[in-house]
């Protein structure tokens, strides 16, 4: 089954976007928002910590702990993970997976060490890729897409998987924020090349885009932020559209749990 994954941007322990839900007691509380996505049928969650200051970073460990205690679906923490010890801290707090991006490019051995220490299933390598201007293929960008890393995205994905990444979170910088659809050519190329699941990210705008990421891009999971946070689509609408497009998704249980 293809997973549908809302992504939450978190700054100093508060959700940056995603205030367009009604009935939230505290719209800025990432755990409450996560719980809402769980009820709506999200298969997994990604928290992206965009806290700039070092002192604010302890909040992400606290977030992992509170989420693990209150939200019973898998979740990934990414953003600002620089070392084995950073990774250990969020996993120990209860995160299921950790996403590494720039740190893995600077020190590819980090992927190997963490896969050996925690298991590949915990290690997600996030790749920000952009089509080479006037050329072929895609190149990797660092630091949220501002700095070219001088690496081919498909080759880096293959190396990351070979070093022990359990999944590749693949964001198209060309499509991110455009709502023009996922970059299915990029997705299909990487998915064919690596033997681990690929999560499609960047460009979701219409309901049809999600199924296309799977049928054309061969993605194993689809991630989106703004279409969910802005209330454009619900998780249920996305899943219905994917099912209508011939993609197997987890059916949503919309009845309250009776304990």
């Amino acid at each position: 089954m293809i997973r549908v994954i809302p992504c939450l941007d978190v700054n100093r322990g508060r959700v940056v976007k995603g205030v367009n839900f009604v009935d939230l007691r505290d719209a800025g509380d990432p755990v409450e928002l996560a719980s809402t996505y769980d009820r709506e049928g999200a298969d997994e969650l990604v928290f992206l910590d965009i806290t700039a200051s070092h002192e604010g970073r302890g909040t992400i460990v606290d977030l992992a702990r509170r989420t693990a205690e209150q939200v019973f679906i898998p979740f990934t923490i990414g953003g600002g993970i620089r070392s084995d010890d950073d990774m250990y801290a969020v996993l120990e707090a209860g995160a299921d997976k950790v996403a590494v991006n720039s740190a893995a490019l600077r020190d590819p051995g980090l992927v190997e060490r963490c896969a050996a220490r925690f298991g590949s299933q915990c290690v997600v390598v996030a790749i920000d890729a952009k089509a080479v201007e006037g050329g072929e293929g895609w190149e990797v960008f660092l630091n949220g897409g501002r700095v070219p890393a001088g690496r081919d995205a498909v080759e880096w994905a293959a190396e990351a998987a070979q070093r022990g990444a359990g999944e590749i979170l693949l964001t198209s910088m060309d499509r991110d924020g455009t709502k023009d659809g996922f970059d299915t050519a990029l997705l299909a190329t990487v998915s064919r090349r690596v033997g681990v699941p690929v999560i499609a990210s960047g460009g979701a705008g219409t309901l049809e885009h999600f199924a296309a990421a799977v049928t054309d891009g061969h993605a194993d999971a689809v991630l989106a932020a703004s279409v969910f946070h802005d209330g454009v689509y619900s998780v249920a609408q996305v899943k219905d559209a994917m099912a209508a497009g011939g993609v197997a998704v987890r059916p949503i249980d919309d009845e309250e749990l009776r304990i």
Binding site: I2, P74, G119, G166, P251, I259
Partner: protein
């Protein structure tokens, strides 16, 4: 019943237990996180979680004496539930660690998933429960689709020990049960309402059994 069953969650430092403990507490259990056998004394049931390598897990269980907690519980009819690697440990052996004996509570071996699809399987998959399985449900797929993360799966010798199956480019065993010993390959504590409902059914069975035991003259 005024108080929920006492569940010992075995902690041999192979996985984070926070979600499993909180899920059981949410469902009314009184949880004792047991790093040593003494902390599992008097438990109505034993939960054996686990993520990681079969060999490392068995070594840690043996070093801490927790293997005896599981086998002792099984021998006296105290319900045991293994989750993920914790389920695999219930069998005799694993292809992941040739020559390393498992707990041997469910005859059979653990083998690498036979599939042409990506390994590990990471994601949600519906389970077909055997009718009458106390852990299972015959409700619709929205009530029995769970979150899996694994590369290996159990192959019990006796088909009667298979409580549920799923398909990942071929059928595999998703749940086992033999007497009071049960195991699930998926993570109920990460499987949203379907997973919590399963843990709730297990706790109900534990509570029924515990009540039964206290009513029985010794």
């Amino acid at each position: 019943m005024t108080e929920g069953p006492r569940v010992a969650v075995l902690d041999y430092k192979m996985s984070n237990l926070r979600s499993a403990v909180k899920a059981l507490e949410l469902l009314g259990a009184r949880v004792s996180v047991a790093e040593c056998p003494a902390k599992a004394d008097g438990a109505d049931a034993v939960l054996l979680p686990g993520v990681g390598h079969f060999d490392e897990a068995m070594r840690r269980l043996r070093d801490g004496g927790l293997d005896g907690v599981v086998t002792g519980a099984a021998a006296s009819g105290v319900p045991v539930l293994g989750i993920c690697l914790g389920m695999q440990l219930l069998l005799d052996s694993s292809e992941e660690a040739p020559g390393v004996p498992g707990l041997g509570l469910i005859p059979g071996a653990v083998r690498r998933l036979g599939t042409d699809r990506k390994i590990p399987q990471i994601g949600w998959n519906p389970v077909e429960w055997r009718p009458g399985s106390p852990l299972g449900t015959l409700e619709g797929p929205e009530r029995r689709t769970y979150y899996f993360v694994h590369s290996y799966a159990a192959r019990p010798d006796d088909p009667a020990d298979v409580a549920g199956t799923a398909d990942y480019g071929g059928p595999f065993v998703a749940a086992v049960a033999r007497g009071a010993v049960a195991g699930v390959q998926f993570h109920p504590e990460k499987s949203s309402r379907a997973g919590l409902a399963l843990l709730g059914r297990w706790l109900s069975a534990v509570a029924d059994g515990a009540a039964h035991t206290t009513e029985t003259p010794r």
